[in-house]
Amino acid sequence: MKSLGEMLLRKEPFSEIVMGDTAIVRAMIEAGVRVATSYPGSPTPEIAEAIASVPFDQRPFYFEFSTNEKVALEVAFGASINGHLSCPFFKSVGLNVAADSFVQLSMMDLLGGMVIVLGDDPGANSSQNEQDNRHLARLAYVPIFEPATPKEAYEMFLEAADLAKKHHMPIIVRLTTHVCHAKEKVGFGHWEPRPLDKTSRFDPKTGCYIPLTAATVYPMKRRALQNIDAVKKYAEDSPFNTTVDNSNKERGIITIGLPFLSLMDTLQFADSKPDVLKLGMVYPLPEKTIVDFMASHEEVKILEELDNFIELEIKSLAFDHGLKTKILGKKDAEDWIGEYVPEKVYQVMKKTWNDLLPETDFSPKGVLPSPRPPQLCPGCGHRSAFYAVKRALKGTDITVADIGCHTLGYLEPHEMGQVLLCMGHSTGTGSGLSLFNDERKVVAFIGDSTLFHAGLPGIINAVFNRHNLTLVIMENGTTAMTGHQDHPGSGKNFNGPTDAISIKKMLEGLGVNSVRVVDAYSQEKLTEAIKEAVSEEGFSVVIATHPCMLKFTREQRRKGKGVERQVSVDKEKCEHIYECLKVFACPTFQLMDDGSVITSKELCIGDGSCIQTCPVRAIGYQDK
């Protein structure tokens, strides 16, 4: 087996098939990053997986999963003002959490520089929205590189690191889902390990680090704007601005990132191809390059994913330069929505110039089976918990979802969780719902990683303001949905053992008077606990605890222990009540044409949490 860790530490140049996220880690190493931080979130957890492949004692930089993105950014900031190149990375919506600190960065003298790797998610492949973070970056005066491929992700990171070190500033490398996860062969450069320099460089006199009143804020802001000007000069000469010259005087297209690749695939269907200008940076823009390109074409289409960010800038450039070029931007709401995958770009370009492309139909050719959305794993403790909680509530009661695997409880047949904003919102939202709502009980859910990430202020508020609701903490010991990263309750961090924070003690310390802990597999007890909790006045918490069974079965398998037994349905006893299939809904149960129920040997992990749900006791173990 090829060892990823060994490869990432090679001194000599090499090329290898890697995904974008892995290419970023080699770039971090070559660029001399000393401190990297993160909070898990798709599409970036694979960056941490690649870091984990390098043994701790050989890792050329410190890495931690922090409790949330804001803390991750702050740790990276602290390291940078002490002279170390740092690299926080997280998903799109992570920037919202980090925003309060993020907007200050460009005003600070970041001695060591900072490259922020942002995993945006056009298409909402695994996020609760598809926000366009280019707006936030511009608001904070932070330049943005936008790679289209793993190769560019690697190369642009190196450029960004150079600029960040040179100007003591933060720079964003904005990846999107299918840049992070795309795989291709990338040629990597030479790595010269440098000994770690522990000289303490933080000096409050180097920069001004205290923004307070105009007297300090103005000069600090001036510094940020001067840096943007310096990067603008770089952007103009950047090797990442490329043109595809089809000698077309009439039509040109300006584009960036992944949409460029979709465009190149689309243009293979066009007889008369427009010229293309692909940019490497979206903020600040290379003005002269753009103006020259526009001036040499009669019509220019701006092809960009999500919002009309560069379109507006380019239109104002055209105005300032008195250009007559016709600029074709976004046409309708659909152009603002969704990832610019090849078929989407095909349609957008067809809408722009109808004669450019032949008519094509991308719709399905025949009947399709119904969709197969993600669902809770076989044996998941969350399923058992939802089953038990549902029994304790009336159909009219209100349930508030939060983010994590347990969000899937909103799906049929559990339908637990009716409203969702973002990580950690549930207690706050539930508190608001409980006001003037005497008839309907309010039950909110939250996962344990999310509890530490953003859940505490809502809980403290519920105690402080005496809100009347029940919070169910779905404790499984891990950050499951993003790939099982440890969190402050796990007893381990990325680098080794640490003290686990006890959720129960923490809640008691916060003054939560009513806390019950029940194993999620003990359905009767859990139902009872919820009934009691919702009947109390005020704020109550029930901790429904059970280890993540996917993580558990994987660990067992690594130890050489496979699934030892599975359940089956006794045909004699089964009365076709279908509680297992239609109410408990472990995906293991399969409905046969003759109405009988069987269990799938592919799926059953043999935990037995289903056995208690069958009213006629038809489910039982079958020895393997």
Binding site: F260, K365, R372, P374, T482, E602, L603
Partner: protein, 190 residues
């Protein structure tokens, strides 16, 4: 050479290993290749897909719907989905015929997809069909049944069995590698 392969299955079936093996095998055979997994979330059981694009002219790692030359499916419902969303007419479908019912089938709202449904659809669209039902020692090795079929039938030009073996050796080690290679070899001999 140009070949676009769309891979589809259910989370947990080992689609990631299948597609990375093919990508690496193509590379070992000297072809230009890229691809992408549509990484689902951690949970098992949702639909997962992977795109593989062989050839110099492929820019995006993603294939356009209806234009894949080949669809590999690890499950029968997903085989029908892959066939009707991504495969072009006269393309090739290779699928493992295990059935993992969708929620609607389990709730009794919809009928299961059968081998006959797939065959009928393939005939209508002149698709070459390989239904694989070979027993494997462990359900998690159903992906190797597909890989073995690809190799035995030489479905990717210029990618030979040894290239798949080299790819498996890149990705696996020890007992797991041994088990997978053994199965691969026995399928080649089928």
């Amino acid at each position: 050479m140009k070949l676009d392969i769309f891979v589809i299955g259910v989370g947990g079936q080992g689609i990631g290993l299948l597609s990375e093996t093919i990508i690496r095998a193509a590379d070992h055979a000297g072809l230009t290749v890229k691809g992408v997994d549509t990484h689902g979330l951690a949970q098992r059981g949702g639909m997962v897909t992977s795109h593989i694009r062989i050839g110099e002219d492929a820019f995006s790692p993603l294939i356009m719907p209806g234009l894949a030359d080949m669809v590999l499916a690890l499950e029968i419902h997903e085989a029908l989905r892959g066939l009707n969303t991504y495969l072009r007419d006269k393309g090739t479908l290779v699928y493992y015929s295990v059935s993992l019912q969708t929620l609607n089938v389990r709730l009794g709202k919809e009928k299961s997809v059968t081998i006959d449904d797939i065959s009928r659809e393939c005939k209508m669209r002149s698709v070459k069909e390989y239904a694989v039902s070979r027993e494997v020692p462990d359900p998690r090795m159903q992906n190797i049944a597909i890989l073995g079929t690809l190799a035995r039938e030489r479905l990717i030009d210029s990618v030979e069995p040894r290239h798949y073996e080299m790819a498996l050796e890149d990705l696996l080690s020890g007992k797991v590698l041994e088990l997978n290679l053994n199965l691969f070899h026995s399928i080649l001999a089928d």
